[in-house]
């Protein structure tokens, strides 16, 4: 299966290139990435968790950068193995200056699945790949803009909004005291109920 995509990034081509071959950046941006390390000049090793249709699996991934032409283009060759089968692909990545100081990144990827992944996941592959790519570039842009820490890859989890909301509450002094008062009131009520029961 062939998948094409394009992404506009508001950063100079050299910066984009440098980030694209930085394992820490990649580790922070690849969804579900647990580890990402460079094992030689052009070879990387990663482990990631991915859901493809009904199959959720841990993958051991090997990636090689072939034909690098900094900062214009390179080819990625990847191999992912899991107990439920394997995935394999090549992606030709091109970086072009967009004339406004930014970079146009385009890619053409060829992907193959094998084993159970192919049996139940093939039909879903293009949708899933698009989702993973979109997710990746969203994070990648955040990294380039310094809005996302690198070095610690962490997947977004549902429930984050709750922590965020709680954080806001506790940054506001009035709300903070209001919450403490309500909690104390509830505790007193509980003690009262316990004693009178």
């Amino acid at each position: 299966m062939e998948i094409r995509g394009e992404q506009s990034l508001a950063h100079p081509r050299e910066d984009v290139w440098a980030a694209l071959i930085d394992p820490d950046v990649l580790g922070a941006c690849v969804p579900g990435c647990k580890s990402f390390e460079r094992i030689s000049e052009d070879n990387y090793r990663a482990s990631m968790q991915a859901d493809i249709g009904p199959v959720s699996a841990g993958f051991a991934v090997e990636i090689r950068i072939a034909d690098p032409d900094p900062p214009r283009s390179y080819r990625l060759e990847g191999n992912a193995k899991a107990a439920v089968g394997f995935g394999r692909g090549q992606a030709d990545v091109r970086l072009e200056e967009d004339g406004r100081g930014g970079t146009k990144l385009s890619y053409v990827a060829k992907l193959q699945l094998g084993g159970k992944l192919a049996q139940v996941g093939s039909r879903l592959l293009s949708g899933i790949t698009r989702k993973i790519a979109a997710n990746f570039f969203e994070r990648f842009a955040q990294v380039l803009e310094g809005k996302r820490p690198v070095g610690a890859a962490r997947a977004k989890r549902p429930g984050v909004w709750f922590q965020v909301a709680l954080g806001r509450v506790f940054r506001n002094r009035v709300l903070r005291w209001a919450v403490v008062a309500v909690l104390l009131g509830l505790a007193a009520l509980a003690v009262f109920l316990l004693l009178t029961s």
Binding site: G53, A83, G85, F86, Q112, L113, G114, G115, K116, A118, Q119, V120, S122, R123
Partner: protein, 798 residues
């Protein structure tokens, strides 16, 4: 006395009470103390060298007893999985039969090819550990389509099979040999019209409701092995286990096929998994159980069809068929399944005459290895492929010469007074009334009023099409001698024992097996009718080699025609002995004794004894001719038929096509079948419904699809579309009986008819709807996408 449940009555099924109240006992319901569970490590690659296997991590997992490999199997001298039918190529060389180890030793040839087995205390433990077995594969180039595998430069799958050709076969039956080819070519040279079609018969997954399962129990103290397995033919499995693979004496092996939830052919064969659990149980000294999960069934059950065929039909100026040429490429998969080479050859070519008097037919078939799951018999097994080729060509001819397809068929029918009819492709047809069947179907379809219905559909914005098929098929493969000459490595007889108890109730031990066919009902009806005893006093026992005589099981719609006849003949013997006992009791000559309605009577008198009294006398022989007659009343008959039986029938299908979406809706389906005599009309109707559903599934929905390299894409019900009740119309089913003279019951068999006749009827109907748009061809399955693409291609003039 047979009461109301004799032959010809729609007796309610005895087995239903057990099945619909959850009291069935299937293999997975059987659990033995200390049993362990097997999980298979399967290749994710369509073609690869197995360079090594590291089980160290798996062995450290909790509960794991063993990880066994193909090398372990070789060390224990386990034989490879046998091919049960040998085919000879046209140059006289035998088909290439590569040794097929149950666990791969050096190379895997399809995705799902077993490589190792993990045995653990629980199924989950075995499964988790199987994921830790590290197999070092070196991937090889691979190919999944048979036509691509034949091309120059295609990856070679078996060293001994250049061009991936297993066999290159031509069909030269005695009736035509040696001039079949030249005579046929001559017919084409002189033809007024020639029709030529290239057809794909889509690959199917069998999808029995119960997945395969095996539980092996080796007793080290007695040396006895019991295998509970989902089999259509437990004795055949035992024979192959004992003589070819496990190599144990037959008296030490018992194979039990208890309740089995559907087979459709896929449970005929001796599979890797059942052999492996037997061997593992013997090696480890514990019972070992394996139950397939559905995803495994998609990979590991032998698949069906997968032909590419060029069919040509020659007609003279009066629209008589004068010749037919058929050239087929059959995809056999990565290895040969037991009957893999026989299905696209000797179960296919002999049916290519259809119901017509075509005098010259020449057939060639190439069997090709590919990196896919092995193919074998699936409901119809060769006959659906033959019927599809013939009936698509006949419809195309009708269009080409501008004749009503029913009239073209009628003009070429074999006539009722020509039976037994020797076809040019080597079959001796038993009986039939094709025009009668056609007229019955036309009447049920209201054939003359089709234009009216078409206009109504048009008014709703739909395209209506009607398609017809007249199938003939061959049931109850026979006789053994002829089959042996054609390469069969097994007998084709069947056996039954009738055990009359002292009280007069009867147990039948049949070598035939029921996995949905209703033997417990229909066989009991035969006994009730013949012995004049109550239907409820008959018990049908099948499926346990420890109980039943050596029989060949169930496949090819043979149960009633062959197994039922064996029963009939055993009943003859019971009746004959009963008559002698009765003659003694009544002090008359045996020749003067009549047996009717359960009474042995001295002809022309009122002196009689009941069947029950005779049974009692046989076991309490106080007043008994012991000098001339053994006590007891138990008789066995083996029956090897002298010929197949040939059910036939006319199916008419009407569809509505939505040209905007490509959706095909079945509006009307008429089936007029000739099954010979019928024991239980309700059971027959049920078999027809099921067969039609499967045939319609092939025509409109089902498609087993691989990538060009051999990765299975349709590996679950998300991608493999099975027919559901709301995909089907209310079938109109009728029968028109011409009894076969080749068995005393006059029965032909009904299990596969629907799956054989439905696909061409449906596709002819779809094409009937689409022809006004310029569509001339469509392959199965005619999914909305395929139909829409065909419409668009026709519109853009491609």
């Amino acid at each position: 006395m047979s009461g109301d449940m004799g032959i010809g009555v729609s007796a309610p099924r005895t087995e239903d009470r057990r099945f619909i109240t959850g009291r069935g006992r299937y293999v997975d319901d059987i659990n033995l103390r200390t049993q362990q569970y097997a999980w298979f490590v399967r290749s994710p690659h369509p073609h690869a060298e197995v360079r090594g296997l590291d089980a160290a991590d798996a062995l450290k997992m909790p509960g794991v007893t063993a990880v066994l490999t193909g090398a372990d199997m070789q060390a224990d001298d386990i034989g490879s999985l046998p091919v049960a039918w040998g085919i000879t190529s046209r140059d006289g060389s035998p088909a290439v039969e590569p040794a097929y180890p149950a666990l791969a030793t050096d190379r895997v040839r399809y995705v799902g090819n077993p490589v190792a087995v993990v045995v653990a205390e629980t199924r989950t433990q075995a499964r988790d550990a199987a994921e830790m077995v590290n197999v070092d594969y070196e991937e090889l180039e691979s190919v999944s389509s048979a036509t691509a595998a034949m091309e120059e430069g295609a990856p070679l799958i078996h060293e001994g099979a250049p061009g991936n050709t297993c066999f290159d076969w031509e069909w030269l039956p005695a009736a035509m040999a040696p001039d079949a080819r030249s005579n046929t070519d001559k017919a084409f040279d002189e033809a007024a019209h020639v029709v030529s079609l290239e057809l794909v018969n889509n690959r199917l997954v069998p999808n029995a409701m119960e997945p395969r399962a095996s539980l092996a129990d080796f007793n080290p103290a007695t040396g006895q092995l019991t295998l509970y397995t989902t089999s259509q033919n437990p004795h055949v499995n035992r024979l192959l286990l004992c003589t070819a693979t496990l190599k144990m004496p037959e008296h030490k092996v018992r194979v039990v096929a208890p309740d089995v939830g559907g087979g459709f052919g896929s449970k005929i064969y001796h599979y890797a998994e059942e052999l492996t659990v037997c061997w593992a149980s013997r090696r480890l000294g514990v019972p070992v159980k394996w139950t397939a999960e559905r995803s495994e069934s998609f990979l590991a059950d032998a698949q069906g069809r997968d032909h590419v065929t060029r069919v040509e039909l020659a007609l003279d100026a009066e629209a008589h068929f004068t010749g037919m040429r058929v050239d087929t490429v059959a995809n056999l998969g990565g290895w040969l399944s037991a009957f893999g080479p026989a299905i696209p050859t000797v179960f296919y070519a002999p049916l290519l005459a259809g119901v017509y008097r075509t005098p010259n037919i020449y057939v060639t078939v190439k069997g090709v290895f590919t990196n896919t799951t092995p193919t074998d018999a699936y409901r119809g097994a060769g006959r659906p492929e033959a019927c599809y080729a013939v009936e698509r060509a006949v419809d195309e001819a009708a269009v080409q010469i501008g004749m009503d397809p029913a009239e073209l068929r009628r003009r070429n029918f074999i006539q009722p007074d020509e039976f037994p009819y020797q076809s040019p492709v080597g079959q001796l047809y038993d009986s039939g009334d094709f025009e009668g069947c056609l007229n019955l179907a036309r009447e049920l379809n209201a054939y003359e009023r089709f234009d009216e219905r078409r206009r109504q559909s048009q008014a709703r914005g739909k395209l209506r099409g009607r398609g017809m098929c007249f199938y003939i098929e061959a049931c109850g493969a026979a006789p053994s001698q002829a089959a042996g000459q054609l390469g069969a490595r097994a007998g084709l007889y069947e056996v039954a024992t009738v055990r009359v108890h002292p009280s007069g109730s009867v147990q039948v031990l049949t070598g035939s097996h029921s996995h949905g066919q209703s033997h417990e009902t229909t066989f009991a009806q035969i006994v009730a009718e013949r012995l004049g005893i109550d239907f409820g006093n008959v018990e049908i026992v099948h499926g346990d080699t420890g109980e039943i005589p050596f029989g060949m099981g169930t496949y090819g719609s043979r149960s009633l025609a062959v197994g039922g006849t064996a029963l009939y003949k055993a009943l003859d013997k019971v009746e004959e002995k009963g008559r002698k006992i009765a003659a003694h009791l009544l002090e008359a000559e045996a020749a003067d004794i009549e047996f009717t309605d359960g009474q042995f009577r001295v002809a022309g008198t009122d002196r009689a004894v009941s069947f029950g009294d005779v049974a009692l006398a046989a076991y309490v022989p106080h007043n008994y001719p012991l000098q001339e007659l053994e006590p007891g009343l138990e008789e066995t008959a083996f029956f090897d038929p002298e010929n197949f039986t040939f059910p036939s029938g006319c199916y008419i299908c009407e569809v509505e096509v939505d040209q905007n979406t490509g959706q095909v809706e079945l509006c009307d389906f008429v089936a007029a079948d000739d099954f010979g005599n019928i024991i239980n009309p309700m059971v027959v109707e049920g078999q027809v419904h099921g067969g039609l559903a499967q045939g319609i599934g092939q025509a409109l929905l089902e498609h087993c699809l691989y990538t060009p390299e051999g990765q299975l894409l349709s590996g679950s019900y998300m991608d493999y579309c099975m027919p559901r009740a709301d995909d089907l119309p209310n079938f109109v089913v009728a029968t028109r009986c011409t009894p076969t003279p080749f068995n005393p019951l006059g029965v032909k068999g009904c299990g596969e008819a629907g799956a054989i006749g439905a696909p061409p009827a449906v596709i002819n109907a779809v094409l009937g709807a689409l022809r006004p748009l310029g569509v001339r061809h469509i392959d199965m399955p005619a999914t909305p996408q395929a139909v829409w693409q065909a419409i668009e291609a026709a519109r853009s003039g491609e």
